[in-house]
């Protein structure tokens, strides 16, 4: 077969999602209205750590329009077991067993912990009533806020029954780190803090739940529209949790306003909303407020890393020892235990480090549970490694680019197993580094910096390399159906929420079938409509979902060719696609359209051995993950009087393998970079020592706005992979993983002339100003 229509793959095709988005005509969860819709509001703990001695709901129940007020006591028997959390796929043997229900029982463990739920005819009535729920709290002294302090003997306990705040541990070794340290020419030590951040999807969480009660001999039916990244997983877990047969549960992710890992969850709130709908036999809507989102949606990062590296005299790392202390929060929530584990799995990053010792302590603290956030564990690994590379450069007086260069895994060592379960596919790290140096004009920048420093200016050039593991399986699915008229309907098991997957999947299908992109519709996120799927997270849609799409569409195309041959009385090998038809090679005018083929397929006019119809569902299970990589460079200027950091330039060279759509790709990179930059420059979740959330509004938590960011300079190298049919690696998280350490590197580089080598994020004016004052010997306490 030859392909005569212009290739869609690799082209900047306009997003097929946009017409509905730019006109405000799409439907997000909170836009849904159902007849008889009731509204759910949670009553949440104002304390970080307190005993709950009783709850009085009488006044709340007296508010006109209130339908029910639920507390943990009312929920007995509503669920078949505790809320699920996952740790199954790693050798953690000691993750504590936690019996958490949708509402707190005898104790609250973070500000925002849900203790009661009010359901009323209107949002206003529900809110008024929620304010009248009387909870008798007995605040417990000294909430555990700092995870290291939480491990100290005598620290207050979140769970008395555990006798410790240590939730889980890991201890992993590669090679012989002890011998390497014993023989080290030099040892470099540092301690880095990867502060907690909020995901801040612009659409908060929420769901609408509808329950059709059963009849004798027939179970009821549950439908949930949820702002989720994993509709299929949510369906399965809810079915188990609520004891409803899975084929009577339907989960729909409508338009979802951003996720960033935060909506990979089976949350207490979704569970409670379902229970409420089942109790009342009415549809129930829960729309999270922004302040609830800050308090109760899972937070990202939260890791302290104590790092030691054995190095040679010229800066080669021969061994690394990392103790990671992970700040889990008050409960395990869905993926909480996995974050630190992913850090451990990527411990050597892009560097050829033969000896590794990684330990992890997951500590329960009086804070919101952590979960996945753009990168999930891999940014933490990259950050500590890049801080280490900078520090080695400083100690040896060497250029940071050169330290990285001599430590990179060389291309001939791929596929490269890092000994911790990650088996890197391909990588050309020096190529990416050289390109980044060239595109940024690194040498000139260093010259410019010399001049600037001579004038007393604080100019910093930051650099960081990264490799990430992504495209997690275990599988993804796709269905391609040519309708009887020749129009094409496609279902993907992924669940996009901004990635543009409807566009990229349509490109794959258009190329294979030779149809116009406008003849293809891509559907997703409705478990009743779509074959089973996994969802969208961990930069997996193109690598795994795209692989399934290729398999499905190619199977449909092959059948279309056979039917065309049958209709044209030719051999299948003589049929080629040309200009939107299937034609017999060399026989002018002997051609059929896909519509004619489909009409035959559904008319039963198919060759012997073929079934009627023209559709295929396939599941793709990649053999292993994929490993995008890159090098980022940032240039900052710091005002020595105010500590203000200005990001002047940001250069990103990413290698994500083959590219399906550069328009989508660059959008993912821009957004990812800004989120990573924001962690380095301005974002930080702050709790006070009593566990009170201090940064709980958009006024107190600095999400970057347009005037804070420069234009980004993007370039790429292309190193493909053979781990999926498209040779793609994934781009969703790359920008975030690379940009945080790059910015931190730039800030430290700017401050180096003042003798500052260590600096913990975020580089807000105040913190930088204090560091400058402290370094120059004056009183840094303003």
């Amino acid at each position: 077969m030859t392909v005569a229509t212009p290739k869609m793959l690799g082209q900047p095709i306009k997003r097929r999602e946009d017409p509905r988005l730019i006109t405000g005509s799409s439907t997000y969860v909170d836009d849904l209205q159902l007849p008889g819709l009731a509204h759910l509001i949670f009553v949440r703990s104002p304390h970080g750590h307190a005993r709950v001695n009783g709850i009085d709901t009488a006044a709340a129940l007296g508010v006109p329009g209130v339908l029910a007020v639920l507390t943990a006591k009312d929920l007995e028997g509503s669920t078949t077991g505790p809320l699920p959390y996952e740790f199954a796929f790693d050798p953690f043997s000691d993750v504590k067993n936690m019996e958490r229900g949708p509402l707190a029982t005898d104790k609250v463990r973070y500000v925002g912990d849900p203790v009661a739920a009010v359901i009323a005819e209107t949002r206003y009535a529900a809110r008024d009533a929620a304010a009248l729920v009387e909870v008798d709290y007995e605040p417990l002294p000294a909430a555990v806020v700092d995870p290291e302090a939480g491990l100290a003997p005598g620290a207050p306990l979140l769970y008395e029954e555990f006798g410790t705040n240590l939730g889980h541990t890991q201890d992993r070794k590669v090679g012989d780190p002890d011998a390497a340290f014993a023989n080290a020419e030099r040892v470099v030590k540092l301690r880095v803090v990867n502060q907690r951040v909020f995901a801040v999807a612009m659409e908060t969480r929420g769901c609408v739940t509808d329950w059709r009660p059963g009849r004798p001999g027939d179970s009821g039916e549950l439908t949930m529209w949820s702002s989720t990244q994993i509709p299929h997983g949510l369906k399965t877990k809810l079915a188990v949790l609520l004891g409803v047969p899975e084929n009577k549960v339907r989960v729909i992710a409508p338009e979802v306003g951003g996720g960033f890992g935060n909506k990979v969850d089976v949350s207490p709130e979704e569970t409670l909303a379902a229970i409420a709908a089942m109790r009342l036999s009415r549809p129930v809507k829960w729309s999270e407020t922004r302040s609830e989102n800050f308090q109760a949606a899972m937070q990202g990062r939260g890791q302290v890393d104590i790092v030691e590296a054995a190095i040679t005299g010229d800066g080669r790392v021969t061994a690394i020892h990392v103790d990671a202390i992970c700040d889990i929060g008050g409960y395990y929530q869905y993926l909480s235990p996995l974050m630190g584990m992913l850090t451990g799995m990527m411990m050597p990053g892009p560097y050829d480090i033969p000896n590794i010792h990684f330990t992890l302590k997951g500590v329960l603290t009086n804070k919101t549970p952590v979960g996945a956030y753009r990168g999930a564990g891999r940014p933490e690994a990259t950050y500590l490694l890049e801080c280490l590379m900078d520090k080695i450069g400083h100690e040896l007086g060497k250029d940071p680019a050169e330290i990285r260069r001599i430590n990179f895994i060389p291309p001939e060592k791929f596929p490269y197993s890092n000994g911790l379960g990650a088996n890197y596919d391909t990588g050309e790290y020096v190529k990416a580094l050289d390109k980044a140096l060239e595109v940024s004009g690194y040498r000139q920048l260093r010259e410019e910096q010399q001049t600037a420093r001579a004038q007393g200016k604080l100019m910093g050039i930051g650099l960081a390399a990264y490799v990430e593991i992504c495209g997690f399986g275990p599988w993804e699915s796709a269905t391609v159906r040519v309708e009887p008229s020749g129009k094409v309907m496609v279902h993907t098991g992924t669940s996009p929420h901004g990635q543009g997957t409807e566009t990229s999947m349509a490109q794959i299908v258009a190329d294979s079938l030779g149809v116009g992109i406008d003849d293809i519709v891509v559907l997703h996120g409705d478990t009743a409509m779509t074959q089973s799927g996994i969802g969208t997270f961990g930069s997996r849609s193109a690598a795994v979902g795209g692989g399934a799409m290729v398999m499905a569409v190619d199977q449909v195309r092959d059948k279309a060719v056979r039917i065309a041959a049958h209709l044209l009385e030719a051999a299948p090998d003589d049929v080629e696609r040309s200009n939107g038809t299937f034609a017999v090679r060399g026989a002018a005018g002997k051609a059929v359209t896909l519509g004619e083929i489909a009409a035959a397929a559904y008319g039963g006019n198919v060759p012997t051995g073929d079934e009627p119809g023209l559709e295929s569902t396939r599941f793709f299970k990649p053999d292993d993950s994929v490993f995008p990589f890159g090098v980022h460079v940032a240039v900052v200027d710091i005002d020595p009087d105010t500590g203000r950091v200005t990001l002047r330039r940001f250069i990103a060279v990413d290698d994500v393998g083959n590219v399906i759509n550069p328009l989508l790709l660059d959008g993912q990179r821009h957004g990812g970079i800004v989120q990573g930059v924001a962690q380095a420059l301005c974002e930080e979740v702050v709790y006070d020592e009593s566990g009170q959330l201090v940064s709980g509004t958009l006024n107190d938590y600095s999400v970057p706005t347009a005037h804070m960011m420069p234009m980004f300079e993007l370039d790429r190298t292309v190193t493909t992979t053979d781990r999926n049919p498209l040779g793609v690696k994934g781009v969703g998280e790359a920008g975030t993983i690379g940009s945080t350490p790059t910015l931190r590197s730039a800030v430290v580089d700017a401050l180096l002339p003042l003798g500052i080598q260590d600096f913990d994020m975020p580089a807000t004016s105040v913190r930088v100003w204090k560091a400058i004052r402290a370094a120059s010997g004056s009183n840094g306490q303003a």
Binding site: P12, K14, R15, E17, D18, P19, R20, L21, I22, T23, G24, S25, S26, T27, Y28, D30, D31, Y124, A199, V200, A201, M202, E203, T204, E255, V256, G257, G258, G259, F260, S287, T289, R290, H497, G498, Q499, G500, L663, L664, D666, G667, H670, G671, G672, I673, V674, Q675, T697, L698, N699, V703, T705, A706, H707, M709, M711, F712
Partner: protein, 159 residues
């Protein structure tokens, strides 16, 4: 509380609605009038997702009581296009791929449209400040700024 009658125009159409005096313009647009294109991202004036035009001026509709719109002209994202013809900003947003999840986009478009109405040829910096009240978590703003710049260049000529 006794309900009140709100009479105003929304997207050039006269509207009468029976509402509670404490309801915000955002809630009335979304829940009473059924125009859900305007989004709530915070309800406290911090994110700009709820931006609409009130007598041509951009406002956070979550901070405006609906009754404050009495006798005035409200324009929402649903009224930005003229019939089937997209507003040039909408068209540019599609060509540049400026949207991702789309949640912030109605607010950004309304802010940008108000900016261009007031200043047809803004500089890049003026554009960035013009949409600084609109938070977007997905896009890093780059393509939005490009798209608005292009429309400004085409509309404003060489200013």
């Amino acid at each position: 509380m006794p309900r009140m009658i709100l009479a105003c125009t929304v997207n050039d159409e006269p509207v009468e609605a029976l509402i509670q005096p404490y309801q915000t313009l955002l809630d009335v647009l979304r829940d009473t009038i059924g125009l859900t294109g305007t989004k709530e991202g915070c309800g406290t004036g911090d994110c700009g997702a709820c931006t609409v035009h009130l007598d041509g001026q951009p406002v956070c509709s979550c901070l405006v009581l609906a009754m404050q719109a009495r006798g005035r002209a409200v324009r929402t994202i649903e009224g930005l296009a003229e019939g089937d013809a997209l507003h040039p900003l909408q068209d540019a947003f599609v060509r540049f791929g400026a949207a991702q999840c789309g949640f912030c986009i109605p607010g950004v478009l309304m802010s940008a449209a108000a900016l261009l109405a007031e200043n047809p040829s803004p500089t890049e910096e003026e554009i960035r400040y013009g949409i600084a009240g609109n938070l977007c978590r997905c896009t890093g703003y780059t393509k939005m700024v490009d798209a608005i710049s292009e429309v400004a260049g085409a509309a404003g000529g060489k200013a």
